[in-house]
């Protein structure tokens, strides 16, 4: 096993020079698992990559960010999709199992708070108001309780299930603690169900990824969010320039150093970052900014990977 890893390292080292673009027959299977938010990116990358390197099989699973890290730190996967940075206890598990890894930003995501299109009062909500609605034990049941200027329309809440990275992200940013949320809302792992729910009731409110808003324009209306510096509408521009806070976020992949020593994984990772724009577009995310892309690319280039 060690000898094999060493041989592969040697290969990786030899290829690392100016190997891009040549037709060296790469082969092997790359195992990716993790966040269902990041999966469309990895799937797009896998698909495009395989068009050029048909010998490499890429498997993309969706066990969720946490589930993905569990497999990653057990050495079962090569790359882990993550919609948040790795947690301390997860990092500890990786360390315990001798899995060293690198973190790369692959795209940007925005969370959108959506309401029914007929809702003409809530155009901008502050993070405090969101917190008041969504915090654990919240008894807010009518829009009037959110702001006295709003009508007395019953508030119906929809959101992702507790396994979702979106749920972790929203609760962390809005309620101040990941996983802390009121529980009397309609949860669904399927964002389409949230769209349908919000579409079906005038006083409804929900949240999910920005891409779903663009896909469902007309069905739901995205609300501007005031994170302290005024109302900002969710869009690609505002997420990228960092003004859409706190609900804009970067998405990551984690690659184990052991896997990076394999030429096909290194090539795949480089491909992932270099073709980020088309990959992010296909997956309905916001591509990396030029600086982000350069930073990630520099990181990959500098990594030789150690077994």
């Amino acid at each position: 096993m060690a000898a094999l890893a060493l041989a592969l390292t040697a290969c990786g080292g030899a290829d690392a020079g100016e190997g891009d673009g040549d037709d060296t027959a790469l082969s092997g299977t790359i195992q990716i698992d993790g966040s269902s938010t990041v999966a469309p990116l990895s799937e797009a990358a896998a698909e495009l990559f395989q068009e050029e390197h048909s010998g490499v099989n890429v498997v993309v699973g969706t066990s969720g960010t946490g589930g993905g890290f569990k497999k990653f730190c057990a050495g079962e996967t090569d790359i882990s999709d993550a919609s948040r940075p790795i947690k301390e206890e997860e990092a500890a598990l990786c360390k315990q199992n001798g899995i060293a890894y690198e973190e790369l930003t692959v795209a940007n995501d925005g969370l959108a708070v959506v309401v029914n299109p007929e809702n003409d009062w809530a155009t901008c909500l502050t993070v405090e108001q969101l917190k008041k609605i969504w915090e654990p034990g919240s008894k807010v049941g009518s829009w009037k309780q959110v702001d006295p200027a709003f009508p007395d329309e019953p508030l119906k809440l929809f959101g992702p299930g507790t396994d979702s990275g979106t749920f972790d992200y929203f609760t962390g940013e809005v309620n101040g603690e990941e996983g802390a949320s009121r529980t009397d809302y309609q949860p669904s792992e399927d964002d389409n169900v949230v769209v349908q729910g919000v579409q079906g009731s005038k006083g409804a409110m929900g949240y999910f990824g920005l891409s779903y808003v663009q896909e469902n324009e007309g069905a739901v209306k995205a609300v501007e969010v005031d994170g302290g510096d005024g109302c900002v509408a969710p869009s690609a521009e505002t997420v990228l320039d960092g003004t859409y806070t706190p609900l804009g976020r970067p998405l990551f992949i984690y690659i184990s150093d052991k896997a990076l020593a394999r030429p096909e994984v290194k090539e795949f990772t480089t491909f992932y970052i270099e073709n980020d724009e088309s990959i992010a577009e296909q997956a309905l995310y916001i591509p990396l900014s030029d600086e982000q892309q350069q930073e990630s690319l520099d990181k990959v280039k500098s990594l030789s990977g150690t077994p």
């Binding site: 299977t29 698992d33 269902s36 999966a39 469309p40 990895s42 799937e43 797009a44 896998a46 698909e47 395989q50 099989n57 890429v58 498997v59 993309v60 699973g61 969706t62 066990s63 589930g67 399927d190 964002d191 389409n192 891409s211 779903y212 896909e215 469902n216 296909q282 997956a283 309905l284």
Partner: protein, 291 residues
């Protein structure tokens, strides 16, 4: 009918009989109506994408290029393997239980009880078992073999039960006649019982395999989540996905067009099922002998 009906039944009784018949018809109607609505919905949604490109293309995140090739081949690999494993094993078990096992022994009764109960275990439980045993402990990963073994466990009890029913339906006179003519027990099983049990067993086996082909829940667990795979299986240890999982993958995507692709994939799955059921009917008619 042992007692002949004398005269006409009182009109009240006749009326009750008609009412009962009407209720039965209505029950049948509910099932057929639901099926018709479902078929209509799937056909109208999926017709636009139901073409050769669907099976020529690999799964894709680009809705217009999305196909189902790897999932369809995965399904075929898995189902052939399941059939190869479960039918011989199921038939052998059924023959043992019907012809050899002594029902007075407690272990035979225990086996029987277990088989009856296993047939009623929810499929997702087999998924967890498959994940722990075939994927992890035996190290098959999310391969064709691991998926096929899990689905085999799932449908084996159904095959055993249907084969036993088929054996029991053979008149004892046939078996006793064979034994009376001096045939050994093995010869009797091989030449009298098995050929006569083919129609019933084939129907049961195909129905069981049809169930296996449509399962998504256990495959989701064994194959490692909602996997996205764009290569065809090359052997029993290749990682794979199956049609129900791919359909699930497509319907959970945001773009509307994927719902059309999913409906077209459902049509392909239905066609495979239809082909299997036709085969069952053919075998039943071909081997059916009236006694």
């Amino acid at each position: 009918m042992s007692t002949p009906v004398l005269g006409r039944a009182p009109s009240r009784e006749r009326w009750n009989g008609r009412l009962f018949q009407a209720v039965l018809l209505a029950c049948l109607g509910v099932g057929i109506l639901v099926l018709a609505v479902l078929l209509y919905d799937v056909v109208t949604t999926g017709a636009g994408r139901f073409n050769l490109d669907l099976v020529r293309n690999m799964p894709s995140g680009r809705p217009l290029r999305a196909g189902i090739q790897s999932a369809m081949l995965g399904t075929i690999w898995v189902i052939v393997l399941v059939a190869a494993m479960t039918v011989p094993l199921g038939v052998a078990t059924a023959v043992y239980l019907e012809e050899y096992a002594d029902p007075a022994r407690w272990w035979n009764r225990l086996i029987e009880l277990n088989i009856q109960n296993l047939a009623a275990v929810p499929s997702v439980v087999y998924g967890i078992l498959g994940l722990a045993v075939f994927n992890r402990a035996l190290g098959f990963g999310g391969s064709v073999l691991a998926v096929a073994l899990t689905l085999s466990l799932l449908v084996l009890p159904i095959i055993i039960i249907s084969c036993r029913e088929a054996i029991r339906a053979i008149p004892t006179s046939i078996k006793e006649g064979s034994l009376a003519l001096g045939a050994t027990r093995l010869q009797t099983v091989w030449r009298s019982i098995l050929p006569n049990a083919i129609p019933g067993t084939a129907t049961g086996a195909i129905l069981a395999l049809s169930r296996a082909i449509g399962e998504a829940a256990p495959v989701l667990l064994v194959a490692g989540g909602l996997v996205f795979i764009t290569f065809n299986p090359e052997g029993v240890l290749s990682q794979t996905t199956v049609l129900p999982v791919q359909i699930f993958n497509y319907v959970s995507r945001p773009q509307e067009e994927f719902r059309v692709v999913a409906a077209a994939a459902i049509l392909v799955l239905l066609l495979i099922l239809l082909a299997m059921n036709s085969l069952a009917i053919f075998i039943r008619n071909r081997f059916h002998r009236p006694w």
